[in-house]
Assembly symmetry: C2
Homo-oligomer: 322 residues x 2
């Protein structure tokens, strides 16, 4: 028998900072439990306060170490901090690998730090479904700052950007040339750039190339121009992390003054609403005619009998009939 859930009590205890209540609420929203909507409704009035920071970069640049050091810096400043570590490998493995989560152990016993590994799902909803809900839990639980750390480039990075107020992009010297960096799309998504492992050879060259490429590629937002700073760090020794925190705050203030923050958050809510609505519709596809409609249509497409657009029309038509 499933444990009975008192959502109101859980939310109260989460707001008092009880880690178990926070963890339980995240599980309830992450698993799309029957209590999902009740939890969402109970959280809503307490949301909107947390500053959301995305951290992204290729494997090997030291994201987890930097996240851990940044948590330390924010704790020094008296902030309550949430961390969502998003792992795109999970759709295939069914669970997050904990290898470098170990580095976050520094904060495991701090009652003002909440750390959660998120498994993205192997479907279209992906990160855009579960992570915003976990973010709402941490926000309602009184986190001043939520850090969302993700691996690599591509859709998960795009999703993090769409969730964050400020996106921090990490690089390291010698991880490939400038074109490779640009190819990964990092120039357009970064509000703050960090060159980590700056004690290595080539750090100054990486900073120089990055600044040059940034100067070429920036666009105006709301008629104003944010010039992303490039900060050098050695996260393993917490060097330069105070400067990263300051750069993040400078960006936050810049956005707030110009209405960009409000705009980003509205866009975030739009994506969230849309993802939920699409997920609701998508769940209906599987139900159509006992789940066989999609499979039958796919067989006909593979057999070159119909094209996928005709198949999609038939799928939607059968949806309307249920």
């Amino acid at each position: 028998m499933p444990r009975p859930v008192d959502v109101g009590d859980l939310v109260s205890r989460a707001r008092e900072g009880q880690a178990r209540a926070v963890a339980r609420l995240i599980s309830l929203v992450e698993d799309a439990s029957p209590h999902l909507r009740e939890v969402a409704a109970a959280l809503a009035p307490h949301t909107g306060r947390a500053q959301v920071i995305g951290l992204t970069g290729s494997p090997g640049v030291g994201k987890s170490t930097t996240t851990s050091a940044l948590v330390g810096e924010l704790r020094k400043r008296g902030k309550r901090v949430g961390v969502l570590a998003v792992d795109p490998s999970s759709p295939f493995s069914g669970g997050a690998l904990l290898g470098d989560r170990v580095r976050m152990q520094d904060h495991a016993l701090d009652p003002e730090v909440f750390i959660r590994s998120m498994a993205t799902r192997g479907h279209l909803g992906g990160l855009s479904w579960a992570t915003p809900q976990a973010l709402r839990v941490l926000d309602a639980a009184g986190c001043d700052v939520v850090l969302i750390e993700t691996v690599g480039v591509g859709q998960s990075e795009i999703d993090v950007v769409s969730l964050a107020d400020t996106t921090v992009v990490l690089l390291a010297p010698g991880m490939g040339d400038g074109i490779q960096a640009a190819k990964a799309g990092i120039l357009e998504v970064g509000d703050v750039f960090v060159v980590n492992k700056a004690d290595r050879d080539g750090a100054d060259r990486t900073v120089r190339e990055l600044k040059h490429m940034i100067s070429l590629g920036r666009k105006e937002i709301q008629g104003a121009m944010w010039r992303p700073p490039v900060v050098k760090t050695v996260a393993a020794r917490a060097e330069g992390i105070d400067l990263v925190a300051e750069a993040i705050d400078a960006h936050h203030g810049w956005m707030a003054d110009r209405g960009v923050l409000e705009q980003r958050r509205r866009k975030r809510a739009e994506s969230e609403i849309e993802a939920i609505a699409l997920e609701v519709l998508r769940s209906r596809f599987g139900d159509v005619r006992g789940g066989t409609a999609l499979e039958q249509l796919a067989k006909r497409v593979v057999a070159a009998e119909i094209d996928p657009f005709v198949a999609a029309d038939e799928l939607l038509a059968s949806l309307d009939r249920v």
Copy 2:
């Protein structure tokens, strides 16, 4: 005035191998032109023949060089080859960066090779929308093999896996330790592994670690077990590329014998149909009440007045009324 489009003529010319007709058809499907459905219908009867190979790996492992070398190998074997180079940076930049496409110049004048850079879109449809349609064009144009090359990990990699018959994962020595590799989810997605730049220090160690991790993590498919081979290459000198081609063919034969190929292709068609159906629905969201419904709902979510699930319900309800 837009150019008039004779879809039937374009398809005929594409099937004769005329590169301009192929390029034009891809543009028509990629831009979701008014002719999209007409093109899809005209292509459908000619699809289902191409062998689809996905190539993925982190930036810097030599994907473009390997793709180019593999095209050369397939040409030696008399195959007509299509290449789709998918660039996840494009949602932000509005166009693909051409930096390392230059390495494909070897094949630019070969009339039996079609190369196309794909811009993924900055929305949920993403790669799962445009790339399958471009794949159908190349398939109908008589390509024996279509190579889909993508950058990095995350959603774009997942999408490539869902499109390909065989997924080739590239690594290079010294790109990070084993846990980093596993974190990126590559072990579960690879049918064939390639350790490129095998003339570098540490290549044998990378191969050894990879084989060990593969041996730990494999799952049965349809009651059978495919053991992904690990092939060493120096793509810049075309060394080992013949072995890559043989490993791909071995995997293809293995799947065909066991019905796995048919199953993968049906799953691919299901994803494609579903993505199209969701995109159709999604386009309706923007139309609801002159495009303001979603924006107004988002504002109320940001103001902590309603939760996003209630907002999604209202969005869907307003959709039903139009």
